[in-house]
């Protein structure tokens, strides 16, 4: 009797371990579909390729001017970042495949800020981006329903033309806890072509 009980218990343990191992293996197979790039290789890539200044961020509210740069790396990335200069390491932005620089949209924007996460505590907030050539205007939608117009500048990258922008939020833009909620790209007709959610503290 004792022997039968021991055998059942043993089978129960083996069954539980098998189920756990199966679950772990299944999750690792799914995870295997995504392989993050080697960070060191990614950084090595950022040291390659041509860097083009596509827009400017004007000095304001005691903050120095910065540039908006596009870099097509030798590793197949097209990176958009803002920094004090092209050679600066203080780069803040993102990268997409060079084959799809806007990530399947007509708009690729990047918000960078210092301070927070509460809007009232933000000392410097900047918005940079690239848009497809059919975009005529870009606006930032604020949480109080108002909009800010962003000036577009033509940018030629390889054989393709884009619009580029760099915008620094004024202190008055972020007063009373009001912050950006979306970036909107419109055609010359005024029709919305693309919208990208954004925000401070999220």
């Amino acid at each position: 009797m004792v022997e039968v009980r021991m055998t059942r218990r043993r089978w129960a343990i083996v069954g539980a371990i098998s189920a756990l191992a199966t679950a772990i293996l299944a999750s690792s197979v799914v995870a295997g579909q995504f392989r993050a790039p080697d960070p060191e290789a990614f950084h090595a890539g950022l040291a390659t390729g041509e860097i083009t200044r596509v827009a400017d961020i004007a000095a304001g509210d005691g903050k120095p001017a910065r540039g908006v740069f596009v870099q097509a790396t030798d590793t197949g990335q097209l990176c958009l970042w803002d920094a004090p200069s092209a050679s600066s390491q203080q780069r803040q932005g993102g990268c997409n495949s060079v084959d799809d620089p806007l990530g399947g949209s007509a708009l690729s924007a990047s918000l960078a800020y210092q301070g927070g996460p509460a809007v009232e505590d933000v000392q410097d907030a900047r918005l940079i981006g690239l848009v497809s050539r059919d975009v005529a205007t870009v606006q930032v939608l604020m949480s109080d329903g108002t909009q800010r117009d962003v000036r577009l500048r033509k940018a030629t990258l390889g054989s393709n033309e884009y619009g580029a922008f760099g915008y620094r939020f004024k202190k008055s833009d972020l007063r009373g806890g009001v912050g950006p909620t979306a970036v909107i790209a419109r055609a010359a007709s005024g029709d919305e072509i693309a919208r990208q959610p954004t925000g401070i503290g999220g």
Binding site: I17, F34, R91, G94, S105, A112, G199
Partner: protein, 114 residues
């Protein structure tokens, strides 16, 4: 039975460590599927300079930042939908990398680098 259990524990530990990268780079979250508003943070260190969110494609809204260990303010925060979101903050303060998914149902990992 004890041997089998110990082997299983070793297997789980090995799987966990396999996500961590080489010297200088530390994967502090993922690779995993992310939920909206899910966040993760690295250990505190004065040596972190770069913070990345690597994703399985473009269009997924994410944020990376550094959080200091005194005021817990955010520094050099970047938010975008690029396939890699990254920032740089080179100060000697003790800080941790923090990443956050603002959209859901994508695969990605967060990595800080010295």
């Amino acid at each position: 039975m004890k041997t089998l259990g110990a082997g299983l524990v070793a297997f789980v530990v090995a799987l966990t460590l396999a996500g961590a990268a080489l010297a200088g780079a530390t994967t502090y979250a993922g690779p995993q599927q992310w939920s909206q508003n899910q966040g993760a943070g690295s250990a505190f260190s004065s040596s972190w300079k770069y913070n990345h969110f690597f994703k399985n494609g473009s269009g997924y809204d994410t944020t990376v930042t550094f959080i200091d260990n005194v005021t817990y303010s955010w520094h050099a925060t970047v938010r975008n939908t690029s396939s890699v979101t990254y920032t740089y903050w080179s100060v000697s303060n003790v800080k941790r990398g923090h990443c956050r998914a603002n959209s859901a149902y994508f695969w990605g990992s967060c990595v800080v680098v010295n």
